[in-house]
Symmetry: C2
Subunit: 407 residues, 2 copies
């Protein structure tokens, strides 16, 4: 057995994948599972876009099947720059955009370019579970900054300042709209973060995966607040709903985007051609695209509202900040679970085994939410979302009953 | 400008991309360019497979557009294991196979898992230009081992032994059929390498991108010679001709494949779903698949032969080992260029500017072939390949004339 590098040692299988494996076993056993665990959108691309993808696949020669420029087709980079502008974001030069093989590759390449060995990265707690393993993979150290439900999960600048050290901190990484809480970064919090970035000369890495899925309020474009220090990571997985096709992009200052481009080229050579061509059609047909996004927002809003209503009714002691965007709600069950001595990880297991409901425990999103569950409202119908919440309430009732029962 | 990591510093844009940029400029100027530079196959997938891809894109819901297991669909891993066996390779457990987003991601993840900071990697000289930057990216050092045209570009075990040091060398990386020379690794050289790997307990990383494109002789499956130390890197880019769709795989000892899987998941989360589904159709329709490969071999063999014949006729002082597989021939022009004081890099520039022929200079493939050109026979017609060789001969004649001319 020859020696090997330690690079895999900081990595672990995605926690949602582990839940998927358990869920698949239950489904093989014929159990119906309500899926509140996934980050997968419930809506595939609209029919006209699928037809366009089919036409490309059928007719295409090496223009569709061949390699593309490693940073993506130039026309796609132009279309993305236009799109960001039309969505209300900054005006970009296409050379500030590099197309990637999905949002994961975008984040991997961005952090590879930014985080030096030993550099510190500030993560909000809770935040998407994908960032910490990457930071550690690059030899960086994570500094967690808790955000609180009672503050709407907005980062408190004072707490961020406590975690930041000149010359040691290389970046603050955050996602807005948020995964797992659904909060939109407020304009004042965004301004405070941009000021810290400038004062301490560090990067703000903004994951904008859910930027078009906003139900109330307005998405804050961090890049506009500090065009020298913000790198934005994006995906076409959520809108228009083709996560498996692996297409995303990064935009930011041109010189660092150049480095991210080189690293991304070394990872996958070029982003998938068929996904690029399909997204070029999506972004070119501007009106249909915006209509689809509008429809999607309505689609997900109904599901979010079903979740919120049912939780308010069935789980009066839970804390649940109203998600303003994205696909998730973060349900804090401390007042149920702490007295029971049950943490979220155990609850998620019981929920799946006893009630056939898949959810992700809050422990996966940081260090300070041991009693929370992330509930996705992206895949199930409103009725099944309500049913899922009702089953959570039933399980909590059962656990309380069992705790009181003698013996 | 915040500080950043040095990880991009060892990387550079792919040399063929730089040639592509120059070529694109000439084409914009209306010049016809004969393309002998590319690694892109000239043949897209067969029509029945394109139809299948179109059907999937049109009809598919989230089963086609959604995330897949991060190591690839289980059924695809089974099909790949079967395919390798049926092609004459080793018998594999599907758990020894991880599907990747193309051959580049396969090599990236494999070397990330294998090469520790400061580890040494033996590369044959010449070899594919993609390996060295990756080794350096991972903090490894390259030890070049020259292989010689007069030895059919087979590695000499004694020279490999000189480069290997116990505890310091972590891998030997090679590609067979070869890029850029087209040689098949001989069985005796393969055995000698496997013995060295065992004696020194190091990895043999075999890039088998061109394993189905063999014109004479037999592909050697290195894994069969040392199942504990061989990691094989593969792609569906060349056969069936969909490089832009980004699908490849790694196979090897299960424990290291597990680490490669984790690293690959951190790069791109999962390989593209549409490419996986399309390749599942390709590998399932066994007879059509083998018939297509047979046809492809004939298609490329005719082009190779045109190149060989024309080179023998027009360039009597060149040295050119007959490519037994792959898509490339390596043309050593030392006896023309050395007296002229012109190296291959300069020649490739002149060739493109004056004669409209794109080729890759040998200097990109290592350190010891300053007078060679890599000529691809994968994209042009036999007639245009002949014309390309004739133009190389004409340019060399012109350069000799200019050197003799007074003043």
């Amino acid at each position: 057995m020859p020696p090997y590098s330690g690079r895999a040692s900081t990595l672990r299988e995605s926690p949602t994948r582990r839940i998927d494996a358990l869920r698949e076993r239950l489904e093989r056993e014929g159990r119906d599972v309500i899926l509140l665990s996934t980050g997968q959108p419930g809506v595939p691309p609209p029919e006209w876009l699928r037809e366009e993808a089919a036409r490309l696949a059928r007719e295409g020669g090496m223009g569709v099947y061949g390699y593309t420029p490693s940073g993506g087709y130039w026309r796609l980079r132009e279309l993305i720059a236009l799109d960001v502008g039309e969505l209300g974001g900054p005006e970009l030069d296409p050379r500030q955009v590099v197309v990637t093989a999905g949002g994961q590759a975008a984040m991997y390449a961005a952090l590879a370019a930014i985080v030096p060995e030993g550099g510190e990265v500030v993560l909000l707690d809770p935040t998407y579970f994908g960032y910490e393993p990457l930071v550690r993979h690059f030899g960086g150290r994570v500094r967690w900054v808790p955000v609180r439900a009672e503050e709407g999960y907005q980062p408190d600048p004072d707490r961020v300042l406590e975690a930041v050290e000149r010359g040691r901190t290389s970046a603050i990484v955050l996602v807005t709209p948020d995964n797992p809480t659904g909060r939109l970064l407020s304009r004042s919090a965004a301004r405070a973060l941009a000021e810290i970035a400038e004062d301490y000369d560090l990067w703000l890495v903004a994951d904008e995966a859910y930027k078009t899925l906003v139900y109330e309020g307005e998405h804050v474009w961090l890049y506009s607040l500090d065009p020298e220090r913000v790198v934005s990571v994006n995906t076409f997985s959520k809108d228009p709903g083709m996560p498996g096709w692996r297409l995303g992009y990064v935009y930011g200052p041109r010189w660092i985007v150049g480095k991210i481009h080189l690293i991304h080229e070394s990872l996958v050579y070029c982003p998938p051609s068929i996904a690029q061509r399909t997204i070029m059609a999506y972004l070119s047909r501007r009106e249909e695209r915006l209509r689809h996004v509008e429809w999607l927002r309505g689609h997900y809003r109904v599901r979010r509202d079903a979740l919120l209503e049912e939780a308010a009714r069935r789980l009066p002691r839970a804390r649940l900040a109203r998600p303003q965007g994205g696909m998730f709600a973060f349900l804090d069950l401390r007042r149920y679970l702490e007295p029971l001595g049950v943490d979220a990880e155990r609850l998620a297991e019981l929920l799946l085994e006893r009630e056939g409901v898949a959810a992700v425990p809050g422990t996966y999103f940081g260090t300070s939410h041991p009693y929370a569950l992330r509930l996705s409202f992206s895949t199930e119908t409103p009725e099944r979302i309500r049913e899922g919440v009702a089953r959570i309430a039933r399980l909590l009732g059962d656990l309380e009953g069992e705790a009181k029962a003698p013996g």
